[in-house]
């Protein structure tokens, strides 16, 4: 056999601490504001929604945060996840580049989401919480929290965007098999859901609406907290196990990335692979190029405004400064449901402003084409979200070919596409079309951003 194709670590090499990039940033991210007072929110403001341990992680500037032993106990079923060298893909592309990918589809729920779902379930359980509410788009996050809830004995209620609820019964079935309850959103079980249904009984739903419903349930029930699958600092923190492992695995391969690629919706899988490498660079190490790939139909990093905005449609969340398309913006219904969010993680947005990362946007058909090329070479069928990262990595590899450079490319393959086969059918049958957002709607949504005075 030639050189290795997969780099494995032992259970004992699962990181013992998550990496907090807030410790190494040259400038802290702008504070999250209370929407009424426009003053920075304090822990007490967030206490109805999250357990205190997570609130403390949200604002921590300690470089390392210990991973609780019961969380590592669960991690070790699929972590450390494998790092692959994509030798057959390199050959298919005829590139001199070395392509590596970290594969998070090995988790029971099939994506990176359990990395934080398990941690969030643990901290909630520890603080005596018995119920969690959350939202889900395509279902990756909902099924991950359902899995984590089953392990820690927590009741999980998932508000699933209605159009996905109807079109993706299999992700719903996975959540229900794990024992979670799944409701189509907008639902008649929340005040906000009812207000939306009153105006439009057939409303297809959106991630912003589902967040409002899940937040409302948590805010109005003492035994229930809210869990979010991306965007927030503590979520990105938990995902850093990906990059921390990848650093060890790249060393096993005697390599270091020149460029790191990931797809971005709320930003969690991208931060997971990139933060530990960016942090090493900030502390004086090598500085790989960091490329975020987002859908052209929902391009918060490349076309959004860096401004304070709400995280949800019902305006129940605090205000965060982020790249946003406006909380009233409704992205077209493309297949990568996990990337259909109007905002971007405030931390990643801030780092974009600091020049620590690049962003690029691609349409879905070119991403599916890349995904099929990948599947035929490597065997693994990527999720539609992950196809964006694959596309970004292939573009980098082809650039290397043009330039005759043997660069090392690392990308995060954040999940498999087994629950997204309809999208592949549409692609194969030529029915997949590239959808553009409405420029006027975007302009209106941006014009409607809340007015927040610049801090002194």
């Amino acid at each position: 056999m030639g050189d290795k194709v997969k780099y494995l670590l032992e259970e004992s090499q699962i990181p013992k601490r998550w990496y907090n990039i807030q410790a190494d940033l040259p400038k802290p991210a702008p504070p999250v504001l209370h929407p009424g007072t426009l003053q920075p929110v304090g822990p007490d403001d967030l206490a109805p929604l999250f357990p205190m341990a997570l609130i403390m992680q949200e604002v921590s500037t300690e470089r390392e945060v210990e991973i609780p032993e019961p969380v590592r106990e669960v991690y070790r079923q699929w972590r450390p996840s494998p790092l692959f060298r994509a030798r057959r893909l390199e050959k298919a592309l005829g590139t001199p580049a070395k392509i590596f990918y970290k594969y998070e589809g090995v988790s029971p729920a099939g994506s990176h989401k359990p990395n934080t779902a398990v941690a969030q379930a643990f901290y909630n359980k520890q603080e005596g919480i018995t119920k969690l509410s959350t939202e889900t788009g395509a279902g990756q996050w909902g099924s991950s929290l359902a899995f984590a809830g089953a392990l820690f004995g927590l009741e999980v209620k998932v508000f699933m965007v209605r159009v996905s609820y109807d079109q993706k019964p299999y992700r719903r079935a996975l959540m229900e098999t794990y024992g979670a309850r799944c409701l189509p959103s907008p639902s008649d079980t929340t005040q906000f859901g009812r207000s939306v249904l009153e105006k439009d009984p057939k409303h297809p739903g959106s991630l912003g609406i589902a967040i409002s419903e899940a937040v409302e349930i948590a805010a109005t029930n003492d035994d229930t907290k809210y869990a979010l699958g991306s965007v927030l600092n503590h979520v990105l923190l938990h995902q850093t196990v990906i990059g921390l492992e990848a650093i060890e695995q790249m060393a096993m391969a005697d390599a270091y990335p020149d460029v790191i690629v990931g797809c971005t919706g709320g930003g969690s899988n991208f931060a997971g692979i990139a933060f530990p490498f960016i942090g090493a660079g900030l502390r004086g190490g090598a500085k790989p190029r960091i490329v975020a790939v987002e859908p052209a139909a929902c391009p918060s990093l490349t076309r959004g405004k860096y401004a304070y905005d709400f995280g949800d449609t019902g305006h129940m969340t605090p205000l965060a400064k982020m790249h946003t398309l406006g909380s009233t913006f409704t992205p077209p219904g493309f297949h990568a449901g996990g990337l259909r969010y109007h905002g971007m993680s405030p931390l990643l947005s801030h780092m974009k402003e600091l020049g620590l990362l690049e962003a690029v946007a691609y349409h879905q058909t070119e991403c599916f084409k890349a995904g099929v090329t990948f599947a035929r070479a490597e065997g693994i069928l990527p999720a539609p979200e992950a196809n964006h990262a694959v596309k970004g990595a292939i573009e980098e590899a082809l650039r290397c070919k043009r330039e005759g450079k043997a660069e090392t490319i690392l990308f995060n393959l954040c999940g498999h596409g087994h629950f997204d086969m309809q999208a592949y059918i549409d692609y194969t049958q030529g029915k997949l079309v590239d959808q553009n957002y409405d420029e006027k709607e975007l302009a209106m949504a941006l014009a409607g951003l809340p007015s927040v005075p610049e801090p002194a």
Copy 2:
């Protein structure tokens, strides 16, 4: 962290040789017969269907067969597959038993089938073949051969049982994404298919009919060979990588199985895990109990007759002595499509007669109940076929609990259920019913077995 939950081997520890149990059996299995002459078939009789390397493996009595380097190159993407200790399941059951499972769902196609698909594609390619034809029921085998075909540049044509073709579009989409062509069987592209459609234009198809169609294509086209996903000796041989790895991994866990459990349709995943352990026993080592679990609605090992029969409905295959329900027997349409076959591997059938294994049959609802218990404890959602093995293992663990015995149970979790979510929906909604075969039909099918004189 406590003791390990997963036992991993390095790429370099992928077995270098498959294990051939025919070397260690106290008595050879009866020969396969030509249906016309009733004489043992020779290599030339099989040459229209298979490359000579596979024909030679079919009849080999060498204990070890070298795994070609290009096959190991592909294996190393997911092999060695992990061995898990099911600690959370043990706790949920309150059993003193130690439960281990080998997980084959980590392959790109999601089951153990690529272990032989890759080998078969390799040998065909090596002998200059450019096209492969095969059949598939639920789609596990078809998608595995499609994957292998993509790697070795072979055109793959899959005859998919029509009822599955219509009801399981996602498995079909996976095959097509890998570049294979998928046809509903009975089709109008073969003489046999047309003869079936003439009698019944809406015939739902069966595995036996699909085999006849795929065999016909290979027999009548020089550039095309046939590939079978189970039953045959060489297929079982290729699957022994499972058990060979498991022996090493059990040693890492400082344990040895008292009982080994697997599900049986044609027998390949079961043989894969069991043969290396049975062989060690035949050569003087410990003799674990070996338990085959089959569907009560298609119980070839527990209710079939040990007799010569055809492998297909169109009677194009040679005659093999096996536990059979009769080649005209049509099993009810339960969800574990991979176990819906009228016959059992001749080698396993012979070993059952030699008393080397036990068999037990369960209905599908009790198997799904076991699968959901497993998923909530271990996270992994098993395929409907694998749920039979889970059920068997849980029954053994509960027996240990009753008897107060801390036995070691090893079972093969041969694949995940991501493409079988409709079955889980049916189960969750209480729509899954246990189907019984028709006793009269079985009696008729058995009465219609070909008449073959006992050899002297």
